[in-house]
């Protein structure tokens, strides 16, 4: 089969590929025999991702970043809000089926996301079978070898099982599987967190190269802020099911405006002793509240050093304060004076 390279796009186009509006995802948690309460994992999140762009999504565990990724792909049925792909809302089963030919996912754990009873060629070939993308066995075989070549696996590896590979190679298999349907959009859910530093860098470079070659759009979910900074064009910061800040990667890193983004970034251990010693950390006290008992008003107010009365009263709106820089904070003006 002739290589199906898409138009080479190195610069992100200013056309939204994915639009998410007021997305909500509640899970019902049983709190008694006949009682249940909603756990608001994602509570009204809106953003867009342009074609060819990488949007980084960061936040601590339990903030809902993985749920956002999964809900976009309709692995969870959204409780509310809408998701548009190339301007068209995804609603019916038919829409979802078509959407999944264009949007796939790479999972965090390369050990549990590959079926140990399938060979590499079957794992990579499964999406081809599900979506009937290959008309003959030869075509399927060629496509699988082509995909393995994209991600730097040898063709001899095709008949082996996942357990024969190291973590980095397994993640390559997972990426080849995500690429099988020839997608436009990939949700990368912590794809390098389980890998060693030296292997992590190899995989990050591969994500970069694939994006250039195939014109892919990524939603890159991670908790490692250095990795996200490296790979993302824009970055969104989440806290307790809400988005608190969204801006260009450089803007967020150099001038974070939301108090949570500030403390999150200052908490990152920098691999440089002199900077680390001089670094003034904005220490946060306490832990993230449970999403079952989220605080009233601004979700961050219980740990925020600047919290005032009005923060408890209402949720601050997610506003665009300069071009492309969104922040949700009542006391923004006072804090960043």
């Amino acid at each position: 089969m002739i290589l199906q390279w898409k138009a080479v796009m190195t610069v992100a186009e200013n056309r939204p590929l994915i639009e998410v509006k007021d997305l909500k995802e509640y899970f019902n948690i049983n709190t008694g025999m006949f009682r249940s309460r909603p756990l608001k994992a994602v509570d009204g999140v809106s953003f867009t991702i342009n074609k060819g762009e990488t949007l980084g999504l960061v936040g601590e565990s339990g903030c809902g970043k993985t749920t956002v990724g999964r809900t976009i792909l309709h692995l969870y049925k959204p409780t509310g809000g809408e998701i548009r792909y190339e301007g068209r809302q995804i609603k019916t089963k038919e829409d979802i089926r078509n959407f999944r030919k264009k949007a796939t996912m790479v999972f965090q754990d390369p050990y549990s996301s590959l079926n140990p009873r399938m060979t590499v060629s079957d794992i990579i070939g499964e999406p081809l079978d599900v979506h009937n993308l290959c008309s003959s066995k030869e075509e399927r075989h060629d496509r699988i070898l082509e995909l393995m070549d994209y991600v730097g696996l040898n063709s001899e590896h095709a008949a082996r099982y996942a357990h024969e590979f190291s973590g980095g190679q397994r993640q390559r298999i997972g990426i080849a599987r995500a690429l099988a349907v020839n997608p436009d959009f990939i949700v990368c859910d912590e794809p390098v967190s389980a890998l060693d530093v030296s292997i992590q860098a190899q995989v990050i470079n591969m994500f970069d190269e694939l994006q250039e070659k195939l014109g892919l759009t990524y939603l890159f979910i991670a908790h490692d802020l250095l990795v996200v900074r490296h790979i993302s064009d824009r970055i969104a910061v989440m806290y307790l099911g809400r988005m608190v800040e969204l801006a260009d990667a450089a803007a967020i890193y150099d001038h974070p405006l939301h108090p949570y983004s500030k403390s999150l970034l200052s908490a990152v251990p920098v691999p440089d002793p002199k900077i680390a010693r001089a670094n003034k950390r904005i220490a946060l006290t306490g832990d993230i509240p449970s999403p079952l008992n989220a605080p009233s008003g601004c979700p961050f107010r219980t740990r925020c050093p600047y919290a005032a009365e009005k923060c408890a009263e209402s949720m601050p709106p997610f506003e665009e304060i300069s071009k492309g820089h969104f922040v949700a904070c009542h006391r923004l003006a006072e804090i960043n004076r």
């Binding site: 601590e60 060693d196 530093v197 030296s198 292997i199 250095l226 990667a249 990152v268 251990p269 950390r281």
Partner: protein
């Protein structure tokens, strides 16, 4: 005299597939009140080094050679009775996952006092008070109520605080921390690192910090050991290792970390995959992945060589550079080569 002196330590695991040399001849010293970082990737032997010092190796693991001296007293081969007086009293350890280190069926208070009763002469009441004092020391709010709670009622960061309280209850000279913040979120990690730095200053103990995160090392450590495949590549003060690395593996690791400067550029990762400990090459273990490997790297292991008084590395490139600069005479060359029958192949 150094507080802890490890010399040519060798620890192996005897598996069905053969002997795995997890720690293959490492030597280092730790002084009172110093923070030593051991960095390396998975399988580099950094955790096994810690378990060897504590002699808590699992299953088929055994110390097969070398010596570990604590305050001049030899620990290797000293027997379980001696080790019982060392563990908890003189050397304590905290692990990566605080959930699996705590017993879910006992209250925090019970587990804390148990450790104190076992190692000191306090009675039950005094042990309880000591436990409360320790919880206050690690900034656990409302310790009286917390003592009666079970581990599942604590968050990850709080559990790690409890583990630190337990480890420090008997005022050990050395605290070994095995990836203590890897399972925690960044803001919680920052809290725990700050706590450890504060306690280290207040109590004056030495810390061995085992981690894969060079950022954590930069923040906390005075001295650093870089390990690869069971051997030490490079050791020295934190500043020397970060600003003046002299081993290709250390340099590769530093290059692999994304920073603000690398945004939009390609990273330069170390190529290849980590070494198979069952099939160790006879030369430098890093040679198969090294960009600048020379012939000698594949055939002979490089001995530790001093770069300056604060810094030593085991890399043939340093020897080559030394000969080129005239600081090492080519005649001395043989002294750096490891003599040994099986190394000759």
């Amino acid at each position: 005299m150094a507080l802890l002196e490890v010399k040519d330590l060798r620890t192996s695991f005897f598996t069905d597939a053969g002997e795995v040399k997890a720690v293959n001849g490492i030597s280092f010293e730790l002084d009172h009140g110093k923070v030593l970082g051991i960095v390396g990737e998975s399988g580099s032997g950094k955790s096994v080094t810690a378990y060897s010092i504590m002699q808590i190796l699992a299953g088929t693991g055994r110390i097969v050679g070398g010596s570990i001296k604590l305050d001049g007293e030899e620990l290797v081969g000293s027997g379980e009775n001696v080790m019982k007086t060392v563990r908890g009293n003189k050397i304590s350890i905290i692990f990566q996952d605080p959930m699996t280190s705590l017993n879910p069926t006992y209250t925090i208070g019970k587990q804390l006092t148990e450790a104190i009763l076992l190692h000191t002469n306090r009675d039950r009441k005094q042990a309880w008070d000591r436990a409360l004092e320790m919880l206050r020391l690690v900034n656990v709010n409302d310790p009286e109520r917390r003592m009666k709670q079970y581990p599942h009622e604590f968050s990850g960061g709080m559990r790690q605080r409890v583990m630190i309280a337990m480890a420090l209850a008997c005022e050990p000279d050395i605290l070994i921390a095995d990836e203590p913040t890897t399972a925690l979120d960044v803001t919680i990690q920052a809290q725990i690192l700050e706590l450890m730095a504060r306690l280290q200053k207040e109590l004056g103990m030495a810390i061995i910090m085992i981690t894969h995160d060079l950022g954590v090392v930069a923040q906390l450590c005075d001295e650093v050991i870089v390990m690869y495949a069971g051997s030490i590549c490079e050791q020295g003060t934190a500043d020397e290792i970060f600003y003046n690395p002299h081993h290709e593996y250390t340099k590769g690791l530093m290059r692999s970390i994304p920073t603000a400067d690398t945004a939009g550029k390609k990273l330069r990762p170390i190529t290849g995959t980590p070494i198979d400990l069952l099939n160790m090459p006879k030369g430098c273990p890093f040679a198969p992945r090294c960009e600048n490997a020379m012939k000698i790297c594949i055939t002979k292991r490089c001995e530790r060589m001093e770069i300056n008084s604060d810094h030593a590395a085991s890399c043939w490139l340093n020897v080559k550079r030394g000969i080129e600069n005239g600081t090492i005479s080519p005649d001395a060359f043989n002294d750096f080569a490891v003599e040994g029958g099986d190394d000759r192949g």
